[in-house]
Subunit: 298 residues, 2 copies
DNA sequence: CAGCGTTACGGTCTACGTAAAAATA
DNA sequence: TATTTTTACGTAGACCGTAACGCTG
């Protein structure tokens, strides 16, 4: 079942078997067993070409959702284990983990709950929402907007910068407008990433109504920087990227008229009542109140 | 996994094992293996009481969806087999299979496609929508309204009747109003049946804004008639029930002011293009055109 | 011939059922 | 003490990996 999904991606028994860490004959037998079990041929194989039959194509999305749901079971089980162990899995996208507010919240959380174990991990562009929805992490420091089912607490708001190749005519400006960037392709993200989220980050559609042309798909920020440095496309990032991600061949220019970006602490709405999640929510609220109180005063 | 779902329903190892057609020790071992595999205890068992742990409760819905999606795989595979074999699985709820338009459509379909094999089965109240969405049947003769994702072709529209216990003061009337029926509990349906569908059939909320009180849950029409005959609740049915379901202790009375009911041929929107489904759609359209053409003329 | 999928074979691991034991109210 | 879950044990089937085979371009 999972093997079938992998085979559909690879269209090659040897490679697929390797990905699943079993020998190729074993893989072949499993697929054949699945076909016998279901009563339909799923893949048409000649020893030179492997392709899905119509039945295989029809079954592929169903198989995918089935595999996803058993993955979800594992993740939810892990979340339950963490819950009884007093553990909290925290994810963070890009440079959010290094931001002052994030560090302050984690410090506050540790101070308030000395027995709470924190598992912090970084999330890449492709999977940050999946990590939350599938329960791989309990909470995450992310960038809005989040899709329905995810609740957020706004942590900070700031300008966005354009991420341009060094040889772009605009690369050395101190500020640009969306109109000046019109026509430049924007790095794309894989389909498992919610479209609405990336549309916001690509400013698609633009204020003038035009839609964005997309460049190569990247799965993480380093791939994004490589794509930009190669001149294949541009990207929009939160202003903090400027200081946290200096990269050769990549210049940052503030975009004066893009809607501001919002950093947020996010969690699944259905998990709102979990004690560990409540703990970090309270810690975050405390830090925000303290900051806003001291801000005008200092 | 599936065993866990069954155990959660039965809360009894022996009964659950029997439902799964394996011995009780084997069942017990499987559950324990699942717990070891996930790393969490799912059920708290004393030899007198079996109950779900919090982790088990959290995992139960996920396990359910996982089981459902593998069931869907089997059903979609069956649909594919039918497709290559030139078979069409047709479902029908209540008396729809016996209605003249249904019989005419099936006759037309057989006449146009002599090689097409038809598998007709009846669907009960609880599962008629699931049978479509999970691919157990390709098309179905149902009663509107259908939830999104299901397309319909309207076949007939007619008044609704109240289904009342024989000793109800209104049971021998020729016509009643919703206002006269106010306060009477209505038979309920299990949760796997879309709420919007049953709300329509229970006329909930009523035109005056009041909500309906529900009686016992029934899974099929015969259970519905028993509940009504016992005086536990009333029900609303299409007028045709009057002639097709004479039952002791059950009287039918036309409801003068209930919105009319619509019988329809239904299929999954995503399957619209399948040749077998197209065939029955065309047959149905032809029958409808012929009927409407001859109607005014005769 | 070279690459790739399939079949053959020997060994291990899982999972069943029956029967006996342990645990709880 | 009675009901229900768990452990013990012997067997049948599933699955893996290595190696040999067959097919296609």
């Amino acid at each position: 079942m999972r093997l079938f999904v992998v085979l559909a991606e690879e269209l090659h028994f040897g490679n697929a078997a390797q990905r699943m860490f079993i020998s190729q004959p074993a893989f072949s037998r499993q697929i054949r067993a699945l076909e016998r079990c279901l009563g339909v041929d799923l893949v048409a194989r000649s020893s030179r070409r492997v392709e899905l039959t119509p039945a295989g194509q029809a079954l592929l999305p169903e198989a995918r959702t089935a595999v996803e749901s058993v993955d979800r079971i594992r993740h939810v089980a892990q979340a339950q284990i963490r819950c009884v162990q007093g553990r909290l899995a925290i994810g963070s996208i890009g440079a959010e983990a290094q931001q002052p507010y994030t560090r302050a919240i984690l410090a506050e959380l540790r101070a308030r709950n000395p027995d709470l174990k924190l598992d912090v991990c970084s999330l890449d562009i492709a999977h940050h929402v999946l990590a939350l929805t599938q329960g791989e992490v309990d909470v995450a420091f992310l960038l809005s907007p989040m899709p329905p089912g995810i609740e957020t607490l706004t942590l900070a708001t700031g300008p966005r910068v354009a991420c341009l190749p060094a040889d772009d005519p605009l690369a050395d400006r101190t500020s640009v407008t969306l109109a000046e960037l019109a026509g430049r392709p924007v790095v794309d993200v894989p389909p498992e990433c919610p479209r609405s989220w990336w549309n916001f980050w690509a400013v698609d559609p633009r204020p003038d109504g035009t839609t964005v042309r997309y460049g190569p798909v990247v799965h993480d920020v380093e791939a994004l920087f490589l794509a930009v440095a190669h001149g294949e496309a541009m990207a929009f990032l939160p202003g903090a990227a400027q200081t946290f991600f200096p990269r050769p061949g990549v210049h940052y220019v503030e975009v004066s008229d893009a809607p501001p970006a919002t950093a947020a602490l996010a969690w699944m709405a259905k998990n709102r009542t979990l004690p560990t999640i409540n703990a970090i929510r309270r810690a975050a609220s405390a830090v925000l109140q303290r900051t806003s109180a001291s801000g005008p005063g200092g």
